[in-house]
């Protein structure tokens, strides 16, 4: 008489555990699905133009001493040269741009015939510029970053 309820209790105990395990698996699957759907609505893009120039890369330049040849040997030929008085302005253009977009509308693409655009995105397209002025004999007179973007982050907030 004593063994019957024990067997019954054991069976029902196992079934409670099985049900709990199944629920946990379903929940884990739903979480994974939600994570994949959220991932599908994001875009990470990176644009690199030439080799980004850091202030440490141009620390060797000394006005009145460094020559155009020294700069070309270290940084390569510039992207632009323009006349300035008797001398030249050398411009190096570069960019390490990060673009991040979240489009909540893409979540509807799985069950809606229309995919509305519901996006938040942020990125920059202009190039940074490092500029060197050399005189007629090819000696550096001035050098500066004409425009240098702050270190980019993947950030979708456009405001």
């Amino acid at each position: 008489m004593a063994s019957a309820p024990t067997a019954s209790n054991s069976r029902s105990g196992r079934s409670v555990i099985d049900r709990r395990l199944r629920t946990e698996r379903v929940l884990a699957g739903l979480c994974l699905l939600a994570a994949l759907l959220s991932l599908a609505s994001c875009q990470w893009r990176r644009l690199t133009v030439n080799d980004p120039i850091q202030p440490s890369d141009v620390a060797f330049i000394q006005a009145g001493q460094t020559t155009m040849g020294d700069i070309v040997a270290k940084l390569g030929p510039p992207d632009e040269m323009a006349a300035r008085g008797g001398g030249l302005v050398m411009r190096y253009r570069f960019r390490d741009g990060k673009y991040f977009k979240i489009d909540a509308g893409r979540l509807l693409a799985f069950w809606s015939p229309v995919t509305p655009e519901m996006s938040l995105a942020r990125g920059q397209m202009e190039t940074d510029v490092f500029q060197v002025v050399v005189d007629v004999s090819g000696i550096v007179r001035e050098h500066a970053f004409a425009w240098q973007s702050p270190a980019g982050q993947f950030n979708p907030w456009p405001f």
Partner: protein, 125 residues
């Protein structure tokens, strides 16, 4: 049975990733021939000879009494995988400096495109 299901799932996941995978390549201008550029001799080669070898320049800069022929070329490579992508662009430039007599005074040349890579991963360096 379990293994077959796993294999099918793996194939489906791989196929869906390949479906969102793309590689692009773009050029602007012809690749510079090193031999042609090294053939340009300072103090000897003339403006007409440079134009005959390298073609008409993309730009002519007048700097005081000197003229500078500027030749440029760009190469780009892009890797794209579903929600991530990376687009790399590099340019090569040749500058030929001429004196008042139209004879080569200096040549500035360098290649960046030989270091251009296909990349997909947008994070890190």
């Amino acid at each position: 049975m379990k293994n077959t299901a796993r294999t099918i799932l793996l194939i489906l996941v791989s196929a869906s990733l390949l479906n969102g995978c793309a590689f692009f390549r773009g050029h602007f201008g012809e690749e510079f021939d090193d031999a042609k550029i090294t053939a340009i001799k300072k103090g000897a080669t003339t403006r007409a000879e440079v134009a005959a070898v390298l073609g008409a320049p993309d730009e002519i800069v007048h700097a005081g009494e000197r003229d500078i022929f500027h030749y440029r070329r760009f190469d780009s490579k892009m890797g794209f995988l579903v929600v991530i992508s990376r687009f790399n662009i590099k340019g090569d430039h040749v500058y030929v400096f001429f004196n008042r007599e139209g004879v080569v005074e200096d040549v500035v040349y360098g290649k960046r495109t030989n270091r251009l890579e296909f990349q997909v991963w947008p994070f890190g360096d």
